[in-house]
């Protein structure tokens, strides 16, 4: 029986049956058992395909990926270990992310608070918004060369869009009756902003941060794929150029792990800063 039905009715007629068949059935219908089987099965199939199948030469075994990752942690590639490259990418992300937020959040704020600013800025923003940040790479490299600036620029473009959108919407969609409440309690205009606008808009703002960070991570990789001498993007494209699939996959594993950890980290931070239930803007 499906988990949904189990949850809503608590009825599972097969549980009432006895015997080995029923017990096996129960065992295999446990979610975690299935997860385990799935992971083991996946690794087994991967291993087999890497050694015996027709695509074997394109596929390293899981073990080979692991040893490659260990090797890169110690050996230097273009002057840096795996961790050095990771830090190079992270550094660019942090700088670009910070700048993107510093531009996007206040701008979104002013747009939400002032009709004139909104009327002037929004059309230009709507023009720029549908262009993917990655498409700016060529202009960026043309302007800044292949150094750090061109990459940080892409990240800024990528991070600033969701930061602005969420800042704008978060503030715009604050329930106007909350302002009634604070004015009845004696709040003046400045207090309205500080005590209602910011706290009420903050959850949406933070959601914007989360989106901006994951976009930023994607942007840095893209920029590094096009032209870089360091960074995780550099590692995976190098793996492609020198026909070292273990390097590619190993690099992808690290990239995925870092992306996952960053998002987990932000989730934890959100729970600390915003302990109240978040109301999603429509």
């Amino acid at each position: 029986m499906s988990s949904q039905a189990e949850a809503t009715l608590g009825l599972n007629p097969r549980v009432y049956q006895s015997g080995l068949g029923a017990r096996l059935w129960s065992f295999f219908h446990n979610r975690y058992v299935l997860y385990g089987l799935s992971v083991i099965g996946f690794l087994a199939i991967w291993h087999w395909a890497a050694l015996h199948s027709s695509i074997a030469k394109f596929l390293p075994t899981p073990a080979e990926v692991w040893t490659e990752m260990v090797r890169l942690s110690g050996d230097r590639l273009a002057g840096k270990t795996l961790w050095g490259h990771l830090w190079a990418s992270l550094r660019r992300v942090l700088i670009g992310f910070a700048i993107g937020l510093a531009v996007g959040v206040p701008l979104g704020l002013f747009m939400a608070l002032n009709k004139y600013v909104n009327a002037v800025v929004k059309p230009v923003f709507d023009l720029i918004k549908p262009m993917p940040p990655i498409s700016w790479i060529s202009l960026s490299i043309l302007w800044f060369g292949i150094g750090e600036e061109s990459k940080v620029f892409i990240i800024v473009v990528g991070a600033f869009v969701p930061a602005l959108i969420n800042s704008y919407n978060g503030i715009r969609l604050v329930d106007p009756a909350l302002y009634d409440a604070i004015r009845m309690l004696g709040g003046n205009r400045r207090q309205e902003l500080l005590q209602v606008t910011f706290p009420a808009g903050f959850p949406a703002l933070f959601a914007g941060f989360q989106i901006a960070l994951s976009v930023a991570w994607g942007c840095v990789l893209a920029a590094e794929l096009v032209g870089a001498r360091s960074g995780m993007g550099y590692i995976i494209i190098l793996g492609m150029k020198v026909f070292n699939p273990a390097m590619i996959i190993g690099g992808m594993v690290v990239i995925a792990l870092v992306a996952g950890m960053l998002s987990l980290l932000l989730n934890k931070v959100e729970k600390v800063i915003c302990p109240w239930k978040r109301e999603l803007p429509q």
């Binding site: 009756a177 004696g186 239930k277």
Partner: protein, 256 residues
């Protein structure tokens, strides 16, 4: 201030909302004349969309009347302020602040130092029966509890008048009865002038010293006044209660 002067007076108040730069006008209130005595519990009863919320908002200062004026203790009401406590139908608590954070908001805005405002807040939290829940967040509270916080928050500013806008409309029937009882208890513990808006006749008779009915259609006008002299706590099933209920129901054709 003379002791026999009414606390709040509405003189020939009317309100018309305009849209499209004056081309569309919606008259919401017409010729409202009202005087509320000090510490009187006035209930305004009317069906939905009859203008009673607008009237309350005008008395609160959140809207300005198109004609006429509202005065509190002789002085005209020009804008919102803590001397009028407003309790909202949808609670309107600040979700990012705890119960105590909400209740102490009024004093905090006035710059009252922390220790003092904590004390004030604590007193009113106790008054509404939420002792122990100071550190809870609104989303953790039930509807009835949230409204108690709303009442405490308004009280904490020591207002001259308490304005309640269908405060129990979002609650289920049982909780509603309970909150009506609590309202009487709180009011008797700390008397204030109260103007209470509702669409529920039972509630009006249970709570009010005086009941004013409103017309069922726009523009809203005051219809009749009823004095309720039954001693509190009142019983919904008492003969006098039911007679009054019958009278008002007939007159307003409000279905219960």
């Amino acid at each position: 201030m003379k002791p026999d002067q009414p606390k709040i007076v509405c003189q020939d108040v009317s309100k018309t909302f305009t849209q499209r730069f004056g081309k569309v006008t919606i008259p919401v209130l017409e010729s409202i004349d009202l005087a509320v005595e000090e510490n009187e519990f006035l209930v305004i009863v009317g069906p939905g969309q009859c203008g009673k919320t607008t009237l309350l908002r005008i008395m609160a200062g959140l809207e300005t009347p198109s004609t006429g004026r509202v005065s509190l203790d002789g002085a005209p009401v020009t804008g919102p302020g803590p001397d009028r406590g407003l309790v909202f139908q949808k609670y309107m608590l600040f979700p990012w602040r705890t119960v105590v954070g909400n209740v102490e908001m009024g004093p905090k805005l006035r710059g009252v130092p922390k220790a003092e405002r904590r004390e004030i807040a604590g007193h009113y939290i106790k008054l509404v029966g939420l002792e122990g829940f100071e550190k809870a967040y609104p989303h953790q509270l039930s509807g009835g509890m949230k409204q108690r916080v709303g009442i405490a928050r308004a009280y904490a500013n020591n207002p001259k008048v308490m304005l309640l806008d269908e405060p129990f409309g979002q609650l289920d029937a049982q909780t509603r009865y309970l909150m009506e009882q609590e309202t009487v208890r709180i009011w008797e513990a700390e008397k204030r002038t109260v103007i209470f808006v509702t669409n529920n006749i039972d509630e009006a008779i249970y709570l009010g010293d005086r009941i004013i009915t409103m017309e069922g259609k726009l523009p809203g006008r005051l219809k009749s006044t009823y004095q309720v002299t039954l001693p509190r706590p009142r019983e919904h099933m008492d003969v006098e209660f039911l007679e009054l209920r019958h009278q008002i129901t007939e007159e307003t054709e409000l279905l219960l």
